[in-house]
Structures are given as C-alpha cells and as structure tokens.
C-alpha cells in the first residue's frame, strides 16, 4: 500500500467522523432547542452538513466508479430535497398560525 492511498484513507475517516459529529449535534439540537423554528433550524442545517461529509468520506473510501457515482447522486438529491422539505414544512407551520415563540418567551421571563 503506497503513501497516497494511506492519505486518502485517513482523509476519508476524518470526513466521516466530522459528518457523524454534525449529525449527532443536529439530533441534540432538535431535542434541546426551545421552539419549533429553532429546532427546525438545527435539524435542517446539520441534515445538509452531515451528509456532505459522510458521503464524501464514503466516496473517498471506494474503488468502484459506479458506486462513487451513485453515492454522489444520493448526495446531490439530499442537498436538493432536504432544504426544500424544510421550506415546505416552515410554510405549513406558518400557514397554520404557528408563530416563532422565542422572542415572546424572553420578554415574559424578564
């Protein structure tokens, strides 16, 4: 095994670790944030950042061209559909009269 493939291997492991970290942080954010819109913010941002790192890490790990293309397609579709779904969800919530509550809560607490 030459040095170059070792370097690629290490880069792919680092990328996947960063991606796993982002995903986990997104999960914690969606659990701990105070109201719906902030929870959606945490979840949707990390749902874009995590897949970028994890899937690029997987692509670097593979030898097969077909698998790399398929994973890249998955990444492109996630990056297109994820934010769109978040947008549609926020539209639905606003439509039904769900207001961001954080500012209101702060003023009442003081």
């Amino acid at each position: 095994m030459d040095a170059w493939s070792n370097v690629v291997e290490i880069i792919s492991i680092v990328f996947m670790a960063i991606g796993a970290f982002f995903i986990f942080v997104g999960g914690v954010g969606a659990l701990r944030m105070p109201d719906f819109y902030t929870r959606m913010h945490a979840a949707s941002l990390t749902d874009s950042a995590g897949p970028i790192f994890i899937l690029i890490g997987l692509i670097l790990h593979t030898d097969s061209f077909l698998v790399a293309i398929k994973l890249f397609t998955v990444l492109v579709f996630i990056l297109i559909t994820g934010p769109t779904a978040s947008n549609a969800l926020a539209s639905a919530a606003l439509l039904a009269g769900n207001k961001p509550s954080l500012a209101v809560k702060q003023t009442t607490a003081e």
């Binding site: 492991i13 996947m16 670790a17 991606g19 796993a20 970290f21 995903i23 986990f24 997104g26 999960g27 914690v28 969606a30 659990l31 719906f36 929870r39 959606m40 979840a43 949707s44 749902d47 995590g50 897949p51 994890i54 899937l55 997987l58 790990h61 097969s64 077909l66 698998v67 398929k70 994973l71 397609t73 998955v74 579709f77 996630i78 559909t81 994820g82 769109t84 779904a85 978040s86 549609a88 969800l89 539209s91 639905a92 919530a93 439509l95 039904a96 009269g97 769900n98």
Partner: protein, 108 residues
Amino acid sequence: MIFYIVAFALVITMCLALVRAVRGPGLYDRVLAVNMMGTKTVLLLAVIAYIMGRPDYIDLALAYALINFIGVFAVLEFFRTRESQLALTSSTTQSGQEKALDEQGGQS
C-alpha cells in the same frame, strides 16, 4: 471500524429524533422528526452497504433520497386545503381553530 462508529451515531440520532416525534409538543415537530429520520435512514442505508460489502444496497438509499420529501409536501397540501375549507365554512377565526387543533395535538 469507522463505519460502525458512523452507523452508531446515526442510530443514536434516530433515537433522539424519535424522542422528539413521540413527545411533540406540536404537530409540526412530528413532521420535522419524520424528515430528520428520513435523512438519517438514507445515510444509514449507505453505511450498511459498506459494512455488509453490498454496493447494490445504495440503490435503496437513492430511492429514499428521491421520494422522502413527498410526505412533507403532502403535509403542506393537507394544511393548505384544510385552511381554505375553514375559510369557506367560517370566515371568522380560522387561525384560532387551527391553534386549538395544534394544542390538542400537543396534549396527547
């Protein structure tokens, strides 16, 4: 080994999203949790393909990546038609009714 770590992080995050889905409090938190679970499942399927050494499993991840968002659009359409029906039947406090609906969802 790194695949197992990533898969484990994904499964743990799915547990967190499930807690959000079960506890609520509103209706939209459930939809958000479904959406999160969808993305995590796509990644989990891709990682399983590597763990098991089966490249054809990535087709499944592709299928989920393509059609997972249809459910959220259906939710938007559901609330849109409901809103317009409420506007037709009673032109008074439509958002108030929706808010009552939302609160009842939170209690259960």
